[in-house]
């Protein structure tokens, strides 16, 4: 059959050459929180784009300067609200670094277990949402159901599903519950089964693979120069994990691998997260074995830790201790500290400045998401418009963490 445009001049067929400006967000369902992308499109190809964060601004760093150090915990909960326990522990470790104290062994294992559970919840959400955005709704439901199980463990331990405010400088708000270990084992076992099923569902699916493979590629050099950390950096083949590079808590004593990708595309980022959940399960298993069932969780220093309630109500020493810590706040020595941990999306850093009083002088957070989101522009430029959604999803931007 002859081509239809046989008779026509080629020039007449050209579409208008002016680029089209397309504005997505900040309130758009695909934007994972309030971020805005202004794209310059040539046809369906993104010629240039501008990623704008800042539509979510709570000013939480400033808010921290009004209360006590302990009152910062609810704020960090709301940074990465999918894995708040990692933020809690990260901030607690920063305060402890400043005080020069180490929490008891039982607490360190406990923090690791809860932290890895939170990491699983974080990755489940990201991978589940990615699948859903590409039309695979079943894995999303399965994974969110798993995440619900993780949150049930959190609720059992802390009393809250999401925003636990459970960390304390010098320990945790409460010791592990009696059924903690059994509960965690059962949940992790189930999640690992679901992960296998999810892989079977997705990894043989042509559509899923075509939409992710060789899409949203970024070079390792670019990723490093943008300050990327976490799964996105590891998907680019750089095996940097704070837990391995600068072990904290007991990470130096447990065995786990750092999964890395090879092509640095959206698919690698998806797979790195799946692999990391399996590593988390490995870590949790080791921690459960080594965590003592008895023993103190909090440091034994009345200047730092609240007394038991029955002492507050019955002895003057307990009342004074409670009063001093609640009204004036525990006092961190004057100075500054940078403390960093591996959160769900990478290196979560806290830079604290104390003037020696009970109120923070300055709290600066290094949110991993913020730096990863800064690379979105490079990831999607030159891609098709439709690829924005899976590429953006694979970076796992969390709005609360990008608060600027």
């Amino acid at each position: 059959m002859e081509p239809l445009d046989q008779e026509l001049d080629a020039a007449e067929l050209e579409l208008p050459t002016e680029p089209m400006l397309l504005n997505v967000g900040p309130a758009h369902p695909a934007m994972h929180g309030t971020v805005r992308i202004v794209m310059e499109l040539s046809g369906e190809i993104i010629e240039r784009c501008d990623v704008q964060v800042g539509y979510l601004h709570r000013g939480f760093e400033k808010m921290c300067e009004r209360g006590t150090w302990t009152q910062v915990f609810p704020y960090v909960d709301r940074c990465n609200y999918v894995s708040p326990m990692l933020n809690n522990v990260g901030f607690a470790l920063a305060g402890e670094k400043m005080l020069g104290i180490t929490v008891p062994e039982r607490c360190q294992w406990y923090r690791m277990i809860l932290g890895e559970m939170a990491r699983i919840s974080d990755h489940l959400t990201c991978d589940g949402a990615m699948a859903m955005e590409l039309g695979a709704f079943t894995p999303f439901l399965w994974m969110i159901k798993c995440r619900e199980m993780v949150w049930e463990v959190m609720e059992e331990e802390t009393g809250a599903r999401m925003t636990h405010s459970f960390g304390r400088i010098g320990g945790m708000a409460a010791p592990p519950t009696d059924g903690f270990k059994d509960h965690v084992r059962a949940v992790v076992k189930h999640i690992m089964q679901v992960l296998d099923e999810v892989e079977r569902l997705l990894l043989g699916n042509r559509i899923f693979l075509d939409r992710l493979e060789n899409v949203g590629v970024i070079s390792a050099e670019d990723a490093i120069s943008l300050g990327w950390t976490g799964p996105c950096l590891r998907a680019a083949g750089v095996p940097y994990d704070v837990r391995k590079a600068h072990p904290y808590l007991k990470y130096g004593e447990v065995e786990f691998d750092v999964p890395v990708g090879s092509t640095s595309d959206s698919f690698d980022r998806f797979m790195v997260r799946i692999a990391e959940m399996r590593q988390s399960a490995r870590i949790i298993e080791q921690c459960l074995e080594r965590m003592p069932n008895k023993g103190p969780v909090n440091v034994d220093d009345p200047r730092i830790i609240l007394p038991p309630k029955e002492e507050v109500y019955s002895t003057i020493e307990g009342t004074i201790q409670h009063f001093k810590i609640v009204m004036e706040g525990l006092k961190l020595p004057a100075g500054e500290v940078y403390s960093y941990t591996e959160a769900g999306n990478g290196e979560l850093g806290f830079y604290l400045v104390s003037d020696g009083s009970g109120t923070p002088f300055r709290v600066r957070i290094r949110p991993p998401c913020f730096l990863v989101t800064a690379g979105l522009e490079r990831v999607i430029t030159g891609q098709m418009m439709a690829d924005v959604v899976p590429s953006f999803g694979s970076l796992n931007m969390i709005g609360g963490e990008c608060d600027r």
């Binding site: 220093d301 109500y313 003057i316 201790q321």
Partner: protein, 531 residues
């Protein structure tokens, strides 16, 4: 100057100083309950124990003690150095003293603190002292351990009324005797004493007496714990919600340095506290002064009035300007006020000059009781300031009464609220065009055709000159209440309406002008210290 070494810090002292006094002057804190810089030494709390090292080549004085050995579960004989109370030990040149660096002193303080809390009730949540209590501070700094005593604590009388101003709680008392010494040494009325011994100790009032001298609130002020509470402040506010402004007491011509403690949320003043000032009040204030803060909220004129009826600012200003417009200069009089600051008086004086008014008078609160401790019989804070600002030209209020009777005054602008002799108030009725700038209800506000509500001393910065000619600044604590504004602002508005020009625009210029008018041997108050 001789000096000693305290924890490796060289501290100079004057002959006759004790260790703690020299350290206090140098800004080094040795923990203490019973010692107070303004009182005699009691040395009974034992919190200030320090280790004085023996002179070179001499052995230390050692005590034989039994110490508990945890390992062998028995007492073993040990030696430890004899510690000295820093509040009583006279300083000597070249002394080497260990306070926080001596393990023995640290241990002794911890033990003292534990014993002080032994029978202490669990009262912090209902105690007015919580938040500024030495027991709380020192527990954290020097003890930080849990209760070891399992027995029921000794119970003693609570809520004992000592007099019209003070309520005593014997369970909270640590028997430092500061209140006893304040009564005996400051008020010269030894009405308080201590009875019983050991843990049955309590403070009592002399039989047949009440704690009712003129300085009773100082007993509460020096109390390092919550044993003595002021019935005025009791249960009214929690101290951590209060903020402090540096102020000068306006209760009398002494002009004691004070702190005005107010709640920034409700814009309400809750109390005064003395502020250390060696040149005026040292560490103290009298009861009248301490309770004088109440006038900030009581009997105030908070809205503009025309013939006693409340009106808006603008209407009152228009009316005042109408009354003053075209007044005959020789029949126009201005009344300054010894209750008001130099700034307010200077503003009114400049206004009078611009208006051409020739008659200048001054007024203030009636005389009251004085003593040779702090209280002055002149109950106005700024009599000296008014006279200095007006260059001595201001005549007393009695002269104004005469002038009104003689028909020499038909237009009057008066600052202030009270007059010296209440019987003179009747004369004010005869003035037709009478504009008042008043903070409080009183004869002036009652008789004025137009009253403009002036801000009190707590609502504006101001300068006051006390009876010795010392010029002192008082800082604003709360925002102007109701419709009130500082008197100088009203004057400024009035001048604008009358198209008169004043020689200043900003308060700082006004202050400089008033200071230039009143240089009378007045160095500004020395930098105030205090707690």
């Amino acid at each position: 100057m001789p000096s000693f070494k305290l924890d490796d810090k060289e501290i100079a002292f004057e002959p006759g100083d004790t260790i703690i006094r020299a350290a206090h002057r140098a800004g080094v804190d040795v923990p203490h309950y019973c010692w107070h810089p303004g009182l005699s030494v009691a040395a009974n709390c034992r919190m200030c124990l320090v280790e004085v090292m023996p002179p070179p080549g001499r052995p230390a004085m050692m005590l034989d003690v039994l110490a508990w050995d945890d390992l062998h579960q028995t007492y073993v004989p040990q030696k430890k150095p004899k510690l000295q109370p820093a509040c009583q030990q006279a300083a000597a040149d070249g002394m080497v003293i260990k306070s926080q660096t001596s393990e023995h002193a640290v241990k002794a303080r911890s033990a003292v603190q534990e014993l002080l809390l032994l029978n202490h009730p669990v009262d912090c949540p209902i105690c007015d002292q919580a938040g500024e209590c030495r027991l709380q501070d020192y527990w954290l700094e020097h003890q930080a351990s849990k209760k070891r005593m399992k027995d029921e604590p000794v119970h003693k009388p609570k809520g004992v009324v000592f007099g019209p101003t003070i309520v005593y709680d014997a369970e909270r008392c640590i028997m430092c005797t500061r209140c006893v010494r304040v009564s005996a040494e400051l008020a010269k009325d030894p009405v308080l004493s201590m009875r019983e011994r050991g843990n049955l100790n309590e403070i009592t009032v002399a039989p047949g007496r009440q704690l009712d001298h003129a300085y009773t609130l100082m007993t509460e002020y020096v109390c390092p714990v919550g044993a003595l509470t002021s019935s005025d402040f009791r249960f009214k506010a929690r101290v951590w919600f209060l903020r402090s402004a540096r102020s000068t007491c306006v209760g009398c011509a002494t002009g004691c340095s004070s702190f005005t403690d107010f709640d920034p949320r409700s814009q309400k003043v809750y109390r005064y506290r003395p502020r250390e000032n060696a040149a005026v009040n040292k560490y103290w204030m009298c009861d009248d002064g301490m309770l004088d803060y109440q006038r900030i909220h009581q009997g105030r004129v908070l809205e503009a009035r025309i013939k006693g009826e409340g009106v808006s600012d603008g209407v009152a200003l228009e009316k005042a300007a109408e009354l003053l417009k075209g007044a005959a200069p020789q029949k126009t009089a201005v009344v300054l006020s010894a209750e008001h600051s130099n700034e307010d008086n200077q503003a009114l004086l400049d206004f009078a000059k611009a208006l051409g008014a020739l008659q200048i008078y001054y007024t203030g609160r009636p005389q009251g009781q004085g003593d040779d401790i702090l209280r002055s019989a002149d109950k106005n804070p700024n009599t000296a300031g008014v006279l200095a600002v007006s260059g001595g030209k201001a005549k007393p209020f009695t002269d104004l009464v005469g002038a009104i009777k003689d028909g020499k005054v038909s237009v009057l602008v008066a600052l202030g609220s009270a007059i010296g002799n209440p019987n003179d108030a009747g004369a004010l009725k005869d003035v037709k065009a009478f504009v008042a700038l008043s903070t409080h209800d009183g004869p002036i506000a009652d008789h004025a055709a137009v009253v403009l509500p002036a801000s009190s001393w707590a609502e504006a910065d101001g300068t006051f000159v006390n009876r010795t000619g010392l010029r002192q600044e008082s800082d604003r604590a709360i925002n102007p209440q109701g419709q009130s504004r500082p008197a100088y602002r009203w004057v400024q508005e009035l001048a604008k309406l009358l198209s008169l020009s004043l020689p200043w625009k900003k308060v700082s210029e006004l202050r400089a002008a008033s200071a230039a008018e009143a240089p009378a041997a007045t160095p500004s108050a020395p930098p105030p210290g205090g707690e």
